[in-house]
């Protein structure tokens, strides 16, 4: 039980990191393009 709980927690953390990582990297890249254009 303890092992399976740990697995679920690790799964949650890694999936959230991956998804938010993709989102924030994409938003960062898009906004950097906007900044570069503004200069």
């Amino acid at each position: 039980m303890v092992a399976s709980n740990l697995n679920v927690i690790l799964m949650v953390i890694s999936l959230v990191i991956v998804v938010l990582g993709i989102i924030f990297t994409s938003v960062y890249c898009l906004n950097r393009a906007a900044d570069r254009n503004a200069q």
């Binding site: 799964m11 959230v16 938010l20 938003v27």
Partner: protein, 463 residues
């Protein structure tokens, strides 16, 4: 699988959706062109309406030949066919007239701007044709789709009815989007490029209710089973529907990024425009196969010897997803991601909409427009995670009373957001300035829709 029709009946069910659903898209673009007073877009719509008029010809002849072809088939009664044919002739007559008027307007005005009278004449005729098409479409379902009139056992048959109508919107719409977009790239016309991109996004959003009603139809037709309908054949269609959702997701997001970029940066990125085209072509291919497999579910008359139908109801990707997502180790992580997604969506919708409604007027619209990608990526996250979570217990979710409003609000909220990246007046709202009244209505609609989505979702387990 044979995608190229080998019988008149097959050709008829394929081409007949274009004059009806296609006309809705053509008139939609036409109305947008009239509102934004873009002559190029008006003429593009006239060209599309003119082409729809010509598509009426194969629709008529394939229909007539289908009657001869299927006369001996006891499944189709003479009365239903005669009703469909009678109204069909009236609708195609109106369509022909609309198409002819569109061609005449195009030829007469050439490079000159279109007169108001000509513009309104085509619009009026188009609306009358559409009303007739609606009647013909409904009478058409009566010929073959007897399942939609079955009494409700557990899941309402209304969803089978809604699904066979709705699925033509993202598909036929996508053909239009791709056509307009490819033409726009050839002509290097910015207005048409943006129209094509916006259409891709609309089709992607419409994919959501289509997928969901498809799931509901599956339950309506298999639990309890309906004679002549195979779960294995449905599952094959459902697997391709999953691929279509992925295709729509990629095309819709890249298209939206370009709409956003054009607004924020003032120009497109050519590699990204090419990427949208590549995604669009691939998605159309996937969609064609999905639609064909969908047609196979309840059209035994179009099957040919090479169409080998699946027989194992436990095979395929959808069944695998259904099984896996029910494991805690997959369900809980994806649900957590779903919550992060809606925090992103609501946070973004909240901030942008409140600025438009008059809060934080010291900030220009240009500045809040920058955070929109966060919300859109949130939508993508949630469509994907939501699709997986839905598979865990779709029969139960789909029959909850708050699920339908939730999906309707997602569709409205998703489409309304396009306005933020296409409106010229909103873009010009500087720091300290009031947003136009029309934009405030859209902002209120966006905010209320996403509030509705969260309420509908949160109530799912309890009512």
């Amino acid at each position: 699988m044979h995608l190229i029709p080998e019988s008149w009946a097959h050709l008829h069910i394929l081409v007949s959706v274009f004059p009806s659903v296609g006309l809705i898209f053509a008139l939609g673009i036409y109305i947008a062109a009239i509102i934004s007073n873009s002559d190029a877009m008006k003429k593009t719509s006239l060209l599309v309406i003119g082409i729809m008029g010509l598509v009426g010809i194969p629709t008529y002849f394939s229909g007539i030949d289908s009657i001869t072809e299927l006369a001996a088939n006891p499944k189709f009664t003479e009365d239903t066919v005669a009703n469909h044919l009678g109204w069909g002739i009236a609708a195609l007559g109106a369509l022909g007239l609309t198409g002819l008027t569109a061609w005449i307007a195009l030829l007469r005005f050439g490079r000159k701007p279109l007169s108001d009278n000509a513009t309104h004449l085509v619009l009026g005729l188009g609306v009358v044709t559409l009303a007739l098409m609606f009647v013909v479409g409904e009478l058409g379902w009566e010929i073959n789709h007897t399942e939609i009139f079955l009494p409700t056992a557990k899941t309402p048959q209304l969803w089978s009815h809604v699904h066979i109508i709705l699925n033509h919107f993202p598909t036929v719409g996508f053909v239009f989007a791709l056509g307009i977009y490819a033409l726009a790239l050839l002509l290097n016309n910015t207005v048409m490029k943006r129209t094509g991109l916006a259409l891709f996004v609309i089709c992607a959003v419409l994919g959501v209710p289509t997928f969901v009603t498809g799931n509901a139809s599956m339950w309506a037709l298999t639990d309890p089973p309906v004679r002549g309908i195979s779960k294995a054949v449905i599952n094959a269609h459902r697997d391709w529907a999953l691929y279509t959702m992925l295709g729509l997701g990629f095309t819709g997001v890249t298209a939206w990024i370009e709409l956003w970029r054009y607004r924020q940066v003032g120009r497109f990125s050519n590699p990204f425009l090419a990427l949208v085209l590549v995604f669009g072509v691939i998605t159309l291919g996937i969609m064609a196969e999905t639609g064909h497999r969908g047609g196979q579910i309840n059209h035994p008359e179009i099957r040919v010897a090479t169409d080998v139908q699946p027989t194992d109801p436990n095979a395929g990707l959808s069944v695998f997803v259904e099984k896996e997502i029910n494991q805690v180790i997959w369900f809980v992580p994806w649900q957590t991601v779903h919550f992060f997604g809606y925090a992103l969506i609501f946070g973004t919708a909240f901030a942008v909409s409140l600025r438009i409604l008059g809060f934080w007027k010291s900030v220009s619209f240009e500045s809040v427009h920058r955070i929109l990608p966060l919300g859109v990526f949130g939508v993508v996250t949630n469509v994907f995670s939501g699709m997986l979570i839905l598979q865990a217990d779709s029969s139960r979710y789909l029959n909850e009373i708050t699920f339908v409003p939730k999906i309707i609000f997602i569709t409205i909220g998703g489409i309304a957001v396009i306005y933020y990246s296409v409106s010229e007046r909103l873009w010009r709202v500087k720091a300290g300035e009031e947003a136009p009244m029309g934009a405030k209505w859209v902002a209120a609609l966006v905010l209320l829709s996403w509030i509705g989505v969260i309420l509908g979702g949160r109530l799912l387990p309890y009512v």
